[in-house]
């Protein structure tokens, strides 16, 4: 332990500068999101991740956001264990029929104001899983309102970060 800690003292930090905020994400948010809510949230957001049928690829990359390279928490973004503590639901997967109710209930359990970010191509109308009668037609938006899509299969941590940072940009007053 001492050896590992000692070595860490003399190493440069791994954390990288943040990516530029995703312009497309900003445009999506500007069109849809309540300005008052954005001002109220300020600079900290609690995120509850909900896997609604993903292949687990998105989860791996969302996990990576917490590693030393991306260090999500430095931006005031953190993952929380309960929807009741959350400001943002980060949803992955095409929404399977078997997860539909759980997703709707998680949304209902999240206090307003709240935002929904859908990450991964299959959240948008099913992606590669579109056409199956075991997933909800229309993707996440058919079950709960989506404020922001982050595309990719899976989106890279950089893409996820660029999208999530758009949530923190205060609207011009």
């Amino acid at each position: 332990m001492r050896k590992t800690l000692f070595r860490s003292l003399f190493e440069r930090t791994l954390t990288e500068p943040p990516p530029p905020v995703d312009e497309a994400a900003l445009a999506q948010l500007a069109a849809g999101i309540d300005r008052a809510a954005r001002q109220r949230f300020g600079r900290g957001l609690a995120i509850r991740e909900v896997d609604a049928g993903s292949c687990n690829g998105c989860e791996l990359e969302i996990h990576a956001l917490t590693n030393a390279f991306y260090d999500l928490e430095r931006f005031g973004l953190r993952f929380v264990a309960s929807p009741r503590h959350a400001d943002v639901l980060l949803v992955t997967g095409p929404v399977t029929c078997n997860m539909r109710e759980a997703l709707a209930r998680t949304y209902a359990a999240t206090p307003a104001p709240k935002w929904v970010v859908a990450a991964g191509d299959c959240t948008c109308e099913g992606g590669v899983f579109a056409g199956s009668d075991r997933v909800v037609a229309g993707g996440v938006a058919a079950v709960i309102p989506v404020d922001l899509y982050i595309r990719g299969c899976p989106p890279t941590p950089t893409q996820l970060l660029a999208g999530l940072l758009a949530l923190l940009v205060q609207p011009a007053t």
């Binding site: 332990m1 050896k3 590992t4 800690l5 070595r7 791994l14 991740e49 909900v50 896997d51 609604a52 049928g53 993903s54 292949c55 687990n56 690829g57 998105c58 989860e59 791996l60 990359e61 969302i62 996990h63 990576a64 917490t66 590693n67 030393a68 390279f69 993952f79 264990a81 309960s82 929807p83 997967g93 095409p94 399977t96 029929c97 078997n98 997860m99 539909r100 109710e101 759980a102 998680t106 590669v128 899983f129 056409g131 199956s132 009668d133 075991r134 997933v135 299969c153 899976p154 890279t156």
Partner: protein, 496 residues
Amino acid sequence: MSVFDAIIGGYPAVAGHRPWPRFVIDSAAWNRAAEGLRDGAFVLVGYWGDADRVHLALAEPTYASGCVLTLPCPDGRFPSLAVTHPPSARLERAIQDLWMLTAQGAADRRSWLDHGRWPTSAERAKADYAFLPVEGEGLHRIPVGPVHAGIIEPGHFRFTASGEAVVRLEARLGYVHKGIEGLMAGAPLAKAARLAGRVSGDSTVAYALAFARAVEVATEAPVPPRAVWLRALMAELERIANHLGDIGAICNDAAFAIMLAHCGVLRERVLRTANTCFGHRLMMDRVIPGGIGVDLADEGAAAIEALIRHIRDRFPELVELYDNTASLQDRTVATGRLQPALAQRFAAGGVIGRASGRAIDVRRHPGYPPYDDLPFQVPVREDGDVNARVWVRIGEVEQSLALLSLILSRLPSGPIAAEVPCPATAVEGLALVEGFRGDVLVWLRLGRDAQVERCHFRDPSWFQWPLLEAVIEGNIVADFPLCNKSFNCSYSGHDL
């Protein structure tokens, strides 16, 4: 003489099924197969439905050879195997849900993947799910999921505890059932390969490889040597990345976060190297039927060599940290012990089997190129606890690093893909590939125009999830995350 002679004697092999033979049998032979499974004469490696029939893939205990048995069930019924061989129970319940067939004599009649939410749901699936009864004084129940506290896949766990000790855990899965096998039916090869790579995103290389190998064995397609070796390179990168993630995550679930932080850095470096080499961090859609879609980038070999040097420089220190931290060992040693006999009975593959004395690795037997030409060790332990599963992963990271070096040093040049020939008649293929969780099975039937008629995926987790319920018994509730993480079974790969 093979162990299967007693079952298949007299039944002709179906033409165009490779590499193992397939036999269409009757219920008498089916019952003999059930007896053989019960007695451990051979191993259950797959059990899936089709229109009006069920298939059973069996292997010798060494996995050197195997066969597929097909039982037609024109009246929609087949004799239950689960009655005498419990490891087949969930597969059998899934067959009933997906193919509307009935397993006669099955003790557990509950649906499994069908939660009563599909347009085609069976009536029996619409009732409330009846968890197994637990009786006793002062017992309490803890329902968990499907939405969990962490960033993990959805599933429901029903704990019954007496004070702190778990009396029974029952899992209910199927929440991420996407109907992948339904989408595969009628899909052209390119679309089918993309779907195969998304059965379980963490094992995308393993699944894409198993699918490609099943197509290639069915059509007798040649694969260029360079593609064969680069596939192995990708597969070992995937194994290292996942094992590093798991080692860190297990320690984190014992509240030892520094291991997660350091392993997370190493894992990120593996993914970045994969991106440099093949243009995708998880290497999705890189393995395709007939070869690979993307050649190793010019700077790829140097990037992998640098990665190997970096992990070899850092990893031993982390292993030492794990080994020397008494408070961590206190959590992992003797926790969640899987008895070798149970691992054997369920044919548990991967780290879980190998940490409980089951020395099976399908890269060795039945084996596939280029591993038949590569020396590597298969780490095995007998103690079967969380600690053993950590050490097997550590051993496998070291083995895979050595394999990466060997593969790079012997990488052939030449083309990276060949065309898959269009079969003149329907052909069938089966492939077993060692993913980071264990043996992934893909079985498929291709039509004349090389469209997929039927494709089945069997994740190693089918034979591992039930064992999680066994190992947690008597452990405290707080050790469940630790046990669960040390198993790290797939939800998506299982639910399909």
